[in-house]
Symmetry: D2
Subunit: 338 residues, 4 copies
Amino acid sequence: MRFASDNTSGAAPEILAAILKANEGYERSYGADAAMARVTDLVREIFEAPHAEVRLVATGTAANALAIATHVQPWDAVFCHTHAHIAEDECNAPEFYSGAKLVLVPGAHGKITPDALALALSTTGESGVHGVQRGMLSLTNVTEAGTVYTPAEIAALTALAKARGIPCHLDGARFANALVATGATPAEMTWKAGIDVLSLGGTKNGCLGVEGVVLFNPAKAWELELRRKRGGHLFSKHRFLSAQMEAYLTDGLWLRLAARANAMGQRLAQGLRDRQAHVPPADANMLFPEWSAGHHDRLEAAGAVYYRWTAPEGREKARLVASWCTTEAEVDAFLNAF
Amino acid sequence: MRFASDNTSGAAPEILAAILKANEGYERSYGADAAMARVTDLVREIFEAPHAEVRLVATGTAANALAIATHVQPWDAVFCHTHAHIAEDECNAPEFYSGAKLVLVPGAHGKITPDALALALSTTGESGVHGVQRGMLSLTNVTEAGTVYTPAEIAALTALAKARGIPCHLDGARFANALVATGATPAEMTWKAGIDVLSLGGTKNGCLGVEGVVLFNPAKAWELELRRKRGGHLFSKHRFLSAQMEAYLTDGLWLRLAARANAMGQRLAQGLRDRQAHVPPADANMLFPEWSAGHHDRLEAAGAVYYRWTAPEGREKARLVASWCTTEAEVDAFLNAF
Amino acid sequence: MRFASDNTSGAAPEILAAILKANEGYERSYGADAAMARVTDLVREIFEAPHAEVRLVATGTAANALAIATHVQPWDAVFCHTHAHIAEDECNAPEFYSGAKLVLVPGAHGKITPDALALALSTTGESGVHGVQRGMLSLTNVTEAGTVYTPAEIAALTALAKARGIPCHLDGARFANALVATGATPAEMTWKAGIDVLSLGGTKNGCLGVEGVVLFNPAKAWELELRRKRGGHLFSKHRFLSAQMEAYLTDGLWLRLAARANAMGQRLAQGLRDRQAHVPPADANMLFPEWSAGHHDRLEAAGAVYYRWTAPEGREKARLVASWCTTEAEVDAFLNAF
Amino acid sequence: MRFASDNTSGAAPEILAAILKANEGYERSYGADAAMARVTDLVREIFEAPHAEVRLVATGTAANALAIATHVQPWDAVFCHTHAHIAEDECNAPEFYSGAKLVLVPGAHGKITPDALALALSTTGESGVHGVQRGMLSLTNVTEAGTVYTPAEIAALTALAKARGIPCHLDGARFANALVATGATPAEMTWKAGIDVLSLGGTKNGCLGVEGVVLFNPAKAWELELRRKRGGHLFSKHRFLSAQMEAYLTDGLWLRLAARANAMGQRLAQGLRDRQAHVPPADANMLFPEWSAGHHDRLEAAGAVYYRWTAPEGREKARLVASWCTTEAEVDAFLNAF
């Protein structure tokens, strides 16, 4: 009954096997390994983007910060949701790497609304040299609230950004989960919906630690490489990043792992709703139901592990996250204890 | 006959086994894993430093940049060798993280001389607010030239820095190799010789990707953690960093691996000298002999892989690095082809 | 009828006379001039703060950015009003100098409310290493909306900050106007109310270009000097900054100039209210009344100069600012044209 | 007998008169003043560069840091003389604004030699993503040693930079003195000799505090404006900067002031040489002769004021600088006291 985060689970067997295989013999370092070339081919094929470029790092914060820094200037604004990971959980890394200012855009259930974005876009960058300039839009899918944008919803937001001439980033720390939840293709969820650069998450979904920065505008690749090195994020034994990402994207492993996580998340949500619990919209593997502190205590006493966040009126929110290795038995044990 | 770098070799079996073992079950993320506590204990014991703190990252550049940034101000000078890795091979990462300026100090065979350091210390920071202030000394052992400082040599340099009131960093990307070369203990090579913070390399010496920042002044630990997170270097599945470092430091594995690398490096050096090649001082696993371009071509044609650097008078330097997995057969094949 | 800003007015005769006098003969550069010592004495006397330190720069943005950077770390949060000058009008200068993140705190009429600040303080810095840490409170007096905090109101806010262990900054670009509006002494408005560092504005109130950073914690003075130099804000012919500030603070000139500006601002506000215009609270020399676009056009046609800002329902806000040199005739001409 | 620096002198009467005149009435702020348009026209005419752009700041460090930051990336190298002002006297401001690394290039008497520059250009930027990239060349004229580059010497150096595809900056803190010393026109000394951006000094040569950044590539103007604002260097009462620069450039005032300073510097040099003192090459208003400490003491006792720098063999260097207001009487008094 471990639902604290998808990053408390380990790596999938296929990923570990790839690590072991990659270990054989000598290999060129710093990204010149043969597996990296295969990763690039896989990304281009899967995203139907024959000119896309991808570079690998080991953490999601690095992927986001580098992706953003590569597309903005230090006097720019990056528009993101009030509770975006880049705003709340990265200790200023995006600002450190880019120099830009995050402009927070509200919206229920973790999703920016077109109206709120239009307002933010119209009130930022209007005072000439005195204020920050419009720089970039950054969306997150799966959102921080566990909801999922459809490609159409993403396209509606990126259209507003594009009308102002600014590029769009997608923080896809749980990108595979978003694909599974919507049935969209990788292309539909990204460049076809106006996304210019993607943080392609692997770590939470069954890898040890690997994230891709996928550039649909390949002209930025060299700058991204320089920023990666300058940030200390270029692996010398890069083969171990490549091996993870190659295995992850091969034969749909990433989608199978995400499908498992989402199914377990949905089983949990349904079971809680069946038991009259209030579960806000939850489209993938993460939910934030709410109940009394006493009930939380009882669940913990029964062995459940998850985060508790304070909520109004003496109640508390639970943060429950299923992962690629969550079992039906775990879910059902939790529901039985409920 | 692969001598391009110790980072073209893979990971040692013991390290891989530790990764596999660490994968079992759920584990707390972001450094709160049980193995990390054991790593701290190991470091304190091995370094005879019961209050030392250690934090893990995945690259040597990250370790160096964070170690330095934690000890200087943006208006400070960091004194380092003209050819230090932080000066030549990290694409401004130390400056990016710290804001400080690197002041280059010369010295033959990769070693700063006390006279050169004394001169740099006396001519920097003497113009009040107009120039940079004295900030830190950063040494490298094994040096970039393949030589090794003895603890006494380190102490002579740190004494000059301490007399100016500034702390001292040791870039130990090949720290185990330096220990093996000198027979010094970890304590003798570090805090007993005036070192305040160590970049403790694992990657080049048989790990997949792990480096420790060891703080002998534990008061800096929280700042280091914040800088690590802000730089995107805090691993969510941190257990995989801990597992590597734990295995590396357990039962002297790190020293055994380094001993192998050094032995192979010395065998190579001796063999070349026996064959009348000019081999500058080389104390560990890395050497920089020099011969004609034509001879380089012949060696490459015979299957040798290594870097060639231009040198005066139409000659070229070879950069030959042995690693934990270099075999006598490889060395001898190279010598036979010579 | 020029009400666009107090910075469209020139310098007061006393300030110009001081510049001319300061020009005589040779003088030590970079802040070692004799007049600077007199400025320090004046500040200490006027603020009843015998250990305070003051350093001069030429712009308000520089004063704010340096004052803040000297008191926070790059992973900190600076709490300020949603519409603070540092948030909206300085093109990321505070972030550039400090690395910190601005956390916006709402409040009507430009004033942060204690409840809003308490909420922001309790929800920031609660996620360990993942989020920014609580760093500093920055207030503005006169506020951006033209209202004025009383010392008691400031003390109520700084008490909340102090309870969290963080220092407090006051952006006093119009500090003299705030003093005049409240009748408070400089000490009452600053350190007696919990302010640790003040941006003491001179430019808008009759100087050519000079602002002081007043440190009530003198331990920060050397860091401030280094940051000033590193930012390119240390004047070589510093005597011309000192001369302005000395004249400004001598014999109450600063308060006389502000009293004139405030009186003209209040005359304008009262006259507009007498004419049934809606004038939101305006305590000093700046007001933001609202009327129809057509009426704005008529006023401009009559020769009035000021900023127009869009407002809901087809109306527009006027930004009207009186300065030390605004005359009753100008105000009355505007009111007659209204 | 005040020869400490040209910045210990005051402002020329014409400059002060311009300040007084500029003070009349209201004027638009933040660079939109009418005088600024005239400054732009003057610069274009004087430099025979009809598309040049110029922006004003108050300090030389700001001008240099902004000029450089506008032309390089944070992973770039800026090549400059070992003793350049940007390297030794600006407390990391160029690095703070640009993120770039200064690569020091040696040369006797303050002048970079083509050979030394060619070597630095060929050994920097050759290691791919690992090292800094070639970014910019920054020259200084008058040099820090008091010598002056001819346009041909500048062109020889910029040609090497241009062959590597990088732009060229001229730190002209004493640009007028260099023009007078060589007889070159402003165009010959800058864009005709390969300079892309100039720091055009006014402060040392009779202004209160004003420097221009002259862009011969006007496409960079908007970025320069944003960087200036973000650095806190945009004056609200900008008219006072414009007024200084306009008066300075009108009717050759700048050249007359520099001619006086140079003439006094040369009179001093010649007089010292006549008295058998060792005076290294000195082409403008600044010289660095050397004599015994005892002789320095005697000169100081006689009332001479200047900087003393330690030199080998118990001797000391004098730093003697003449300014626009140095008189023949002062020079002769010094020589008599010698």
